[in-house]
Structure formats: C-alpha cells, structure tokens
Amino acid sequence: MNSRLRMAGGECSGQLRDGELRVVPRVRKAEALGAATLLLLLAAGVAVAQEPGPFTMPVPPAAHLVAITNATILTVTHGTIPRGTIVIREGKIAAVGADVAVPAGAQVIDAAGRYVMPGIIDEHSHSAIEVVNEGSNVVTAEVRMADVVREDMPTIYWQLAGGVTTINVLHGSANAIGGQDAVLKLRWGLPVDSLLFEGAPLGIKFALGENPKQSNFDVPGRPRRYPATRMGVEEVLRDAFTRAVAYRTEWQRYEAARRSLRRGQPEPIPPRRDLQLDALVEVMDGRRLVHAHCYRSDEILMLLRVAHDFGFRVASLEHGLEAYKVADEIAAAGTGVSTFADFWGYKLEAYDAIPYNAALLTQHGVAVAINSDDDERARRLYQDAAKTMHYGGVSETDALKMITLNPARMLGIENRVGSIDVGKDADLAIFSAHPFAPASRVEMTLVDGRVFFDRDTAPTLEHLLEQLRGQREHRRQGGAAGRGGQ
C-alpha cells in the first residue's frame, strides 16, 4: 500500500495566520477518500487501490524528454507563440518556438487549442506548513518556516490544480521581525525535503502596522505586548538592527584578530553565536531578502528609511495596499510590491486599498506581484491578475508578469522560473483557454517537466458523480436479482 495512506490526525487546529485565529484543516490521509465513499466502493466491487484520489496518486515518473505541441505559448519574456512547441529535457526547457521539431523518443503532450504559461508563483503563501506564527516575541528572526513544512497538505494538490508551481512560504505577520521564509516547489507526493526550492535565496518576513502592534485581537487576560503603536514598531526595528550592527562588529573584530594572529599568541575567543542576529546581519549584508508586510503609506516610508539607514534593500513590500500613494518613493528604493488584486476593507489599514494599486505602481516603474496569502485564493491567481487589466489598464504581458516573472525576481529565482525560456525549469501550467478568459481552467501542471496535476486523471466532481451513478446502478441491479431469488 502506498505510504501516503499512513494515518494522521484528523483534527482541526487553531492557528494564528497573519495574526488572526483561523481553523485550518489538518490532513486526513486515509480519511481523505471518505470513509463512506470507501465502503460504497468496496460494496460496489470497485478496486479502491486504483481510485485516483490526490492522496493515493502515484508519484509521477521523472520525465527525461517531453514535448508540448500545438500550444499557444505565453512566454512572458518574448511574446505569444500562437502554435508552438516546448521541448523539455531533464526537467529544463530545451527549446521553445513555432518551428521546433519534436525529438525522437519524446513523450508528447498535445496541447492543441490550449494555452501554456509559466507555472504561477505565489509570492506570499502560508500553505503546506504546520504553524504560521511564532507569536511570542516581537523579534523572531531565528525561526525557520523550512522546519515546519508538511508535504502532505492537500492544499499543495489544490494549488497545482490552479496552476501554481512555486510558493514563498512566509512567517505570519504577528511580529515586527518574523521568521525565515521557505521557497517551495509544489512537488506533490515527494518527500518533504524535495519540496524546498533548491538554491533559492534566503528570505525573512517583517511586519508593520496593526498586526505587530496587535490592534485587532485583544485576548482578555493576556498582557499587551510592546509595541502597541507604529512608533513602537519602528523602534523595534531600529533596536534589532542596532544590536545586529554591534554583533557584526564583534565578529568582524574577532575575524580580524584571527587573521592577524601571530605565532605564540593566544587564540581569540569568538563571540557567542546569536541565531537571531545572524539572520539580521545577513539582511544587512544583502544575503537575505526582506519581505515586509505593510499597509499604510507612512509605515512604508518608515521602513524604507530604516532600510536605508542600515544599508539594505527591501525586496518586496507584502500587501502594500497603500503603496500607490508613495509609488515614486518605492520606485526610488528599488523595492517591489507584492499585493492583493482587490481585497479590501477587512481592517482600518485596508480601507484605502484600491484595485488600481497594481496599475499605478506599474506606471511608476515598480515591479508588482499579485499574491494570495491564502490557500483558496492561491487557486485562482490567474483570475486576480486579469483584474489589473480592468482596473487601470495594465497590459496583458504586465498582468501575466505579476504572477510569474515579477514574483520570481522578488524571490531572486528569476534565472530558474517565471518565464518560458530555454534553460529555465519546465514549470508550466496548461490552460483550456487563455488563462485570463472567463471559462478557462487548468488542465495540466508540470514542475521540472513532471506532470504533477492532470485533470484527465484528477479526482474531479464529474468522476465522483460517475462513480456514484455506477454504484446506484449496481445496487439497483443487485436488488432486483435479490428479489428474484426469493
């Protein structure tokens, strides 16, 4: 039996996600098939082992040579190829174009009438993890999301079914300086370590505004935590980096002392290792990307000042719902904005959120990503990206970039993913129509050239209906035979 059928807890767990208490379904592997369905299937004599559920699906074989043919290819970097071929060799795009020959021995995916786009990159995710926030201290730069990744969360499969191939799993926004992120590829069915995007740059979550100052979730009996204002949030950031500067200096002195050590002199004593400040030193040294949750324009400017003062660049403003108010300042700082298409009004700092944010920022030369921050929204990011064309007239290519190349750049993985170019990973989503068209859906999703989602074999409602009808028919016939025998 497939090891994926191992039992796990089926209970719900309350988790703090972006500071709010949410009930998150825990995986129910064997149960996922549904006990009742299982019994019915057994009664109907259906071979359960062959049931193609997401939890029992075999791991797809690694494809050495694949060719996707007759597809409309949205390359993102070099236009649309109306009837083209993509050749994939050992998981990488080996050729793409209208006149590309299908190599001998290639597994052919005929995509006639279909559209291929780069696999969608969700720059802001809290999926496939055990817990979102280490919400105790206001600075938790030492904790790592990579330590709590779970490979068995069904949302991985559901997001593949929405064309998503890469997600940036961020710490929640409970703390001004949160934990370290984990960039994942959605290689559903492979062991947990295989999900980590190998070679992706390190990153960290920051958070400003209502969540770190705990404006919206006063728990009776729980003491308030500093900071309670935006003043305090800035102070927390400056204090942490001031400590990090001192720590770095200590290490620099130590390294210098070691380098100039003469024979016979005593070995200098190294400073005490501080995992929290290590991460912040990496930020200041440009070795760790900052993804900062923020809403209001004033706090965005505050963060840009702090970053300037401590000599680092903010890779992306997360949400940044008022970023359009300070687009020039953000452009000057070389910072990207990873935002919602149109989610608004859920708290005071989201009241000035407008669906034109992406368009205004794009007009000012700021790179924009459209993210989900949510397991469900992640499944339809293509529809959210399309809205930017409606609100503010973003071009189709720019809109596509917001869920592909732009998030790739914010994560420092643009040399690997985010467009359909030779040499990049074959992370692709195949749609039934243009991904922005209203009746479009994902037919197939590939990661590294491997088909991790295929609607033809997926456990769809249609398939379930057929099964249920079959069972009803079977029962009806069985019942008739029983009566005849009496």
Binding site: N216, K347, P355, Y356, D375, K387, H390
Partner: protein, 442 residues
C-alpha cells in the same frame, strides 16, 4: 460627514453627467431649473449596441431607450424621441444589472471596526430583525460594488438559527427605503450542523445531541409560528378570542403563509435533507444558499423546484471533497434543471460576483446559465422578475454597458444605470485612484 459626502456625490454626479454628454456629442438636452440644481435628462438612448436581454436572443446593433426609470423600448428599430440623450454603444454591450443573492452590503464598513458592524444580533431566534433597518445607504462599500455592475443585492443578517429578514436592495438611494426593491425578501435561517462546519470531523462525541437539540428548537419555533399564524387567521375570520402580539412570530406570519421564502444557509447534503423535511412539515417555501453539496441532491431539488443560491465559489474545499467541487456544483445543478443564482456572502467582495460565476463556467456551467444566474434567476427567486433581471420593455432600467463579457475579469464597465439613473463612477476606489494619479512628482 454624510452631508458633505452626499453634496460631493451630487456635484460629482452632475459633473460626470455633463462630461458624459459632451463626450457623447449630445445636443443640449438638459432642462435646467432656475436654481441650477436640478438636472433632468428627458430620456436616454443607447444606440448601435449589442443588447444581451438574457430572456431572449442577442440583438446586434440595437438600441435601448430609457425613460422615467424604465426601459421603454429595445430592439434594432427602437426609436428615441427628440431630445433624448444619446450614448454611442459601438463595440459595447448592454446587460441587465447583476444581482448578488447574498451579501452584507450596508451592514458593515470595515470588518475589524465594531462600530460599523450590524450583521449579527445576539441570540438564536431573531425573525423580527430586518436588515433594511441597518443598511447604511452612505456606506462606501455600496458605490464600489455597483461600479462593477452589481446593481442589486440581497443583504442579509446572519447568526443564530433564525437570523432575521433579508432585503433586496438597489445599490442606489438616499435612504434605505429608496433602495428597497423588496423587503422583507426572505427570512434567513441556518439549518443546524455539527460544530465546526464541513471542515470538521463529523460525528464527534456530543455533537449529535447538540444537533438534535438545535433541530428540535427550530421545529418548536416553526410550530409556534404556525400556531400563531393560524390563530391570527381565525381571529381575522371572526373567531372569538385574543392573542397578544409577539413581534417575532408576527414577522413569521408571511413566511408561514408562503408569501416570504426562507433562505436556508446550508453546506452539506445532510443539512439539505433536513431543510427538505422542514419544508414538508411546515409548508415552507425554501431557498437553499451556500449548499456546496447540493449536487448530491440535484435531481431531487429540480423535481421539487427548490432554487439554490450557490457560492461563493471562492471558498475552500473540504479535505475529502473533489478539488473542483465548489466550482462544479453550480453546473451540475443547472444541468439537472435547478434554478440557481450566485452569492458572494460578503460586502467588500460583492463586486466580484461575476467572477464567481466565471469559475463555475470554467467547470461546466453553460455560459447562458451563468448569465441567468446573475440576473433573471435571482429576480425570479425573489419575485421581482417583472421589474428586474432582463432587458425588456417595461422593466426597470437597471442595467450596465460593458466592453464585453461581464464575467471576464479583464472587461471594464462603461455606464451603469439604476432605475433609469446614470450612476457616476465616483466610488471610493476611483476617487483615490484619481487623487493619487495626480500626485505631483516628489
């Protein structure tokens, strides 16, 4: 604050109208009073436009004439009167305004700020509470919603077993009463379910008892309501006796008579079966809402003519459901012959109503059915199909002019009319956009 805002709106409306007429190259057709305040267009003609009436075939190069708040004429040869304002509809489409069959519009402003929250009362039984009472006609959420062509909405209270009375409102008006299309439009109830909803493990210890208690409580309440209505009817027929007024049961009288439907918020097939049993016991006219598992009972619902308000399709999936259940459910229902409509079950997200339908269309809902489910079907469900839901002469001129398929997230809106009034795009989001687009370079 409201005064300032409404004044601003009035001014903006007039500026918008004037600009529009200039752009449309219309002759001087405005009758202006001596005070300069009232600007009244005699009528509107949208010409050379593709009309999608919903209840009939498309009309290419058609004209829609609007007068006195109503659609006066529709067709290839519909004639405007001299003096009517003309809108050139070349390359554009006319659709009925969309109806969101489940929202919190007017009952919430900023979700995290309690002062603006009027969605949920305390207690389990609140039939006497009417959503219309608490609709803030000056909520900034309302113009944001209508700017995307959602012109009409059910706004519902929530919470408890009997949440209160939903109202069908137009998203334009100076007072809640002006906005009301039908109030009450429905009584809102929740059929009990095991705790935690469909994501929770069913059959946890003690949950069955809790469920039974709640079902019994609901049955007892409905029994009281039936008795109250019967006594009231007998008293009216001259029977001797007296009955003290009970505001809650009084509100249930039209429900028990079948004049007002009950919207049952449900998720699972078990809940739906429970609703059907209640409908049988008490003769209720029921409408299911949410109903992610209604596909399991599609044939039954079709045979019993029970409409289903589906959505939001932007809802997660339970771990033991097919990945596309939430998207495919509407298509299965429509193909089985169930009358469906869509809801967003939200206020701020109500503008995304058509994209809920688009997700369903991608997973099997025929395009025509998707459009009906946003327009004529909800109008029928709430008994206003003679006024709303299609482009037909005599109906209210509540419609939208678009660049294309309104279910396409890329497609913009050109004009919105509600009850014949051209609605300006001066919502909070457009205002902020214009304001900051004009910010001088720093």
């Amino acid at each position: 604050m409201n005064d300032t805002r409404t004044r601003g709106r009035l001014v903006a409306r007039h500026i918008g109208l004037a600009a529009l007429l200039l752009a449309a190259g219309a002759p001087a057709v405005l009758a202006q009073s001596a005070s300069g305040a009232a600007v009244v267009a005699r009528g509107w003609a949208i010409r050379n436009v593709t009309v999608v009436p919903v209840t009939g075939p498309r009309i290419e190069h058609g004209t829609v004439v609007i007068r006195n708040g109503k659609i006066e004429a529709v067709g290839a040869d519909a004639a405007a009167q001299p003096g009517d304002s003309v809108l050139d509809g070349t390359g554009l489409f006319v659709y009925p305004g969309m109806i969101d069959a489940g929202t919190r519009l007017g009952l919430t402003e900023i979700s995290s700020v309690p002062g603006g929250e009027d969605q949920q009362e305390l207690g389990e039984f609140n039939p006497q509470d009417a959503a219309l009472t608490a609709v803030n006609p000056h909520s900034d959420v309302i113009p944001v919603t209508r700017s995307n062509g959602v012109t009409t909405a059910i706004t519902s209270p929530r919470g408890g077993l009997v949440s209160g009375q939903a109202a069908l409102i137009d998203l334009l008006g100076w007072t809640p009463q002006e906005m009301a299309v039908r109030a009450p439009a429905a009584m809102v109830m929740t059929y009990p379910r095991t705790g935690g909803g469909r994501f929770a493990r069913r059959g946890r210890q003690g949950e069955g008892d809790q469920l039974n208690r709640q079902v019994l409580a609901l049955r007892e309440f409905l029994g009281d309501a039936r008795a109250y209505a019967e006594i009231k009817a007998r008293l009216a027929a001259g029977a001797p006796g007296a009955q003290p007024t009970n505001l809650g049961l009084e509100a249930m009288v039209p429900v028990m008579r079948g004049d007002v439907p009950v919207i049952f918020d449900v998720e699972t097939a078990e809940q739906i079966r429970g609703v059907l049993a209640l409908a049988d016991s008490f003769g209720l006219k029921v409408v299911l809402r949410g109903a992610q598992e209604a596909w399991r009972l599609a044939d039954t619902l079709a045979a019993r003519h029970i409409p289903v308000i589906v959505g939001p399709t932007t809802t997660g999936v339970g771990p033991d459901e097919p990945y596309d259940e939430i998207y495919a459910n509407p298509g299965v229902l429509a193909k089985a012959g169930v009358t469906i409509a869509f809801q967003t079950n939200d206020a701020h997200d109500s503008r995304n109503l058509p994209y809920n339908a688009a997700l369903a269309e991608a997973y099997g809902l025929p395009a025509d059915d998707a459009l009906k489910a946003l327009t004529i079907n909800p109008a029928r469900i709430f008994g206003v199909a003679d006024r709303l839901g299609s482009i037909e002469p005599g109906k209210e001129a509540t419609l939208m002019v678009t660049d294309g398929d309104p279910l396409d997230a890329r497609v913009g809106r050109k004009y919105i009319f509600i009850r014949g009034e051209l609605v300006p795009f001066n919502d909070r989001h457009s205002r902020l956009y214009e304001e900051f687009r004009a910010r001088p370079k720093s």
